[in-house]
C-alpha cells in the first residue's frame, strides 16, 4: 500500500467531489420537478396521458443509465442538423449532457415513488377532509401532498444514494468527477487499489451523510 500516494491524492479527489455534488444536486432538483409532473400525469384518468407517463418511466427505468448517457452524449452528437440548432449550445457541453441524462433517469424513478405514495394514502383521510367541508384544492395541498412526501421519504432517500453512485458514470463523458479524477491519477501512477479505495471511501462518506439526513427527516416528520 502506497500511503503517500493516498495522502497526495486526497485533496484532488475532494475537489472533484465538488463536481460530483454539483451534478447530483442539479440532477435531483430537475429530477424532482420531472418526477412530480409525471406522478401527477400517471394519476390522470385520461388513458393517453397516463400511458404516456407510464411509457416515459418504463423507458428510463428499463435501460441502463450508462446507455442513456451514451445516447445523449455520443448519439445526439452525431446528428448533423442538431448541431446547427440552439440545442447544440447545451448538448455540446458534457456537463449538461450528464445532467440531462441523470435528471431524466432519476425523474422516472421519482415519479414512481411519488405515484405509489399518492396511491397509498388511505381514502379515509380524504373523506374525513371532505366531510369537514374542506375544498378539493386544500385537500390536495394540505393533506395529500404532505402525506405523500412523508410516505416517499425512505424510498426517495434510497434514490438519492443510487443517483449519487450513478454520477460516477459522468467520467465516461470526460467529466472530472471523483471517478474521473481517480482514473486520471491511476493512469499515471498505475496504482488502482490505493486510489479507488480512497474514491470509494469518499462515496461511502457521502452515502453516510445522505442516509443520516433522510433518517433525521423521517423522524422529524413521523406521524407518531
Amino acid at each position: 500500500m502506497d500511503f503517500d500516494l493516498m495522502i497526495t491524492s486526497l485533496p484532488k479527489l475532494l475537489s472533484a467531489a465538488v463536481i460530483t455534488l454539483k451534478l447530483l444536486s442539479a440532477s435531483l432538483i430537475i429530477g424532482l420537478f420531472i418526477g412530480f409532473l409525471f406522478a401527477v400525469l400517471r394519476l390522470n384518468k385520461n388513458p393517453f396521458i397516463n400511458k404516456f407517463a407510464y411509457g416515459y418511466s418504463y423507458l428510463f427505468r428499463g435501460t441502463p443509465l450508462l446507455v442513456q448517457i451514451f445516447i445523449i452524449y455520443y448519439g445526439l452528437g452525431q446528428i448533423e442538423w442538431l448541431r446547427s440548432t440552439f440545442l447544440w449550445v447545451i448538448l455540446k457541453e458534457p456537463y449538461w449532457c450528464a445532467i440531462i441524462a441523470f435528471a431524466l433517469n432519476t425523474g422516472a424513478y421519482t415519479s414512481e415513488i411519488l405515484r405509489s405514495a399518492f396511491q397509498t394514502i388511505k381514502p379515509g383521510i380524504i373523506e374525513a377532509g371532505k366531510s369537514l367541508g374542506i375544498s378539493n384544492k386544500i385537500i390536495l395541498y394540505k393533506i395529500q401532498i404532505p402525506v405523500a412526501i412523508r410516505q416517499s421519504l425512505p424510498a426517495y432517500g434510497n434514490e438519492i444514494i443510487l443517483m449519487m453512485k450513478g454520477t460516477s458514470l459522468a467520467s465516461t463523458v470526460t467529466l472530472m468527477d471523483i471517478t474521473g479524477v481517480a482514473k486520471h491519477i491511476v493512469s499515471t501512477t498505475y496504482k488502482p487499489l490505493e486510489v479507488f479505495l480512497l474514491a470509494g471511501g469518499i462515496y461511502l462518506f457521502m452515502t453516510f451523510i445522505i442516509h443520516n439526513l433522510i433518517k433525521y427527516l423521517e423522524k422529524k416528520y413521523s406521524f407518531q
Binding site: G77, Q78, K92, H184, V186, S187, Y190, K191
Partner: protein, 286 residues
C-alpha cells in the same frame, strides 16, 4: 435447492477450466482492441490488426503457443502486474515514466503523433516543419512548439486517457491546454467529428485510418511529434523481473529475453516490415 446446487457446480467447474488456462504454458498477450490499425476488432469481435498478427509471429519465433487477450487501455499496466497476462502489445510507447513500473523489449515499430482537426478548422495551414523531435529539440522544433502553443490557446484538445499524448499536453510544452480525456480513441474520433473537440492528439495513423474508414474529413495539422514525452518507439511491455524474485521473476526475465530475440529475428526476416506495410501503408518497423 437443486438449481442452487447446479449453479454452484457450474461455477466451480468453470473456475477449474479458467484455472487450467492460467496454468497452461501459453504466453498471454494483452491488447486493447480499439486502436486501429495497431490493434482492433472485426465485426465478429475477433482481435485483428498489426500487433495481433505480430504477436502470433513472435510467438512462433519463441516457439510457444500464444493467446492474445483484450484489456481496456486504462487498466493495461495494472492487469499486467496482476498477471492477467504476461505481455502488453498495444501500441504502447516506451517511455521513462512507464519504465518505472514495467519493462520493455526493444522497440518493434515507430509511432509518430500528430494533431488532427476537421477540414475547415482555423488551425489548418499551421506553419511548422513536417516533423519535430522532442528528445533534443532544435531551434526549429522550439519555434514550432511556440506556434502550436498559440494555436491551441483557448481550444479544447481531446486525447485518450493514460497516453503519451495526454502526458505531452499536460507537460507544459505547449502551454496550459484545455485537455479533455476519453477512455478510447473511438470516442476521441466521435467528438472530433461532432465538434465538441476543436483538435485532437493521437498517433497519426489512428486519424488517417479513421478518416479513411469513416469517410469523415479529418485532417492532420502541424508537425508530427516524436521523442521526449512521446517515448522511443513501441515495444512489448513486460513485468520487471525484480518485482517478484523466485521462479515467477525468473520466468519474466526469460520472457523479456525471448521477445528481444524474436523481434531481432522477425526484423531480419522482414516480417515486421511486411506487417507494417500491410496495416499502416508504410514501413513503420524499427
Amino acid at each position: 435447492m437443486n438449481i442452487f446446487k447446479k449453479t454452484i457446480l457450474t461455477v466451480l467447474a468453470s473456475l477449474l477450466i479458467i484455472g487450467n488456462v492460467y496454468a497452461s504454458d501459453k504466453i498471454r498477450i494483452g491488447t486493447e482492441g480499439a486502436y486501429p490499425p495497431w490493434n482492433s476488432k472485426d465485426a465478429s469481435g475477433k482481435l485483428i490488426g498489426f500487433e495481433v498478427e505480430l504477436a502470433y509471429s513472435l510467438c512462433r519465433y519463441i516457439g510457444r503457443q500464444c493467446e492474445v487477450v483484450e484489456q481496456d487501455w486504462d487498466g493495461m499496466i495494472p492487469a499486467l502486474q496482476m498477471r492477467k497476462f504476461d505481455a502488453i502489445m498495444a501500441g504502447m510507447s516506451i517511455t521513462d515514466e512507464r519504465k518505472k513500473v514495467i519493462t520493455f523489449s526493444q522497440g518493434y515499430a515507430d509511432e509518430v503523433a500528430a494533431l488532427a482537426v476537421m477540414k475547415g478548422s482555423s488551425l489548418e495551414g499551421m506553419n511548422t516543419p513536417v516533423g519535430i523531435s522532442l528528445s533534443k529539440p532544435s531551434s526549429d522544433a522550439k519555434k514550432a512548439l511556440k506556434t502550436i502553443t498559440k494555436a491551441l490557446a483557448g481550444k479544447t484538445v481531446c486525447t485518450q486517457t493514460g497516453t503519451i499524448h495526454q502526458n505531452f499536453l499536460e507537460s507544459g510544452d505547449v502551454g496550459k491546454v484545455n485537455v479533455r480525456t476519453y477512455k478510447t480513441q473511438d470516442e476521441v474520433n466521435l467528438d472530433l467529428t461532432s465538434g465538441r473537440c476543436d483538435v485532437a492528439l493521437a498517433a497519426a495513423v489512428a486519424f488517417t485510418d479513421y478518416a479513411e474508414k469513416s469517410g469523415k474529413s479529418v485532417v492532420l495539422v502541424g508537425p508530427t511529434f516524436s521523442g521526449g514525452a512521446f517515448g522511443n518507439g513501441v515495444g512489448v511491455g513486460l513485468r520487471q523481473a525484480s518485482q517478484l524474485g523466485g521462479t515467477l521473476g525468473v520466468r519474466d526475465a526469460e520472457l523479456l529475453n525471448a521477445f528481444n530475440k524474436a523481434i531481432d529475428q522477425a526484423r531480419k526476416d522482414g516480417v515486421i516490415s511486411r506487417l507494417a506495410i500491410k496495416h499502416f501503408g508504410f514501413d513503420a518497423s524499427m
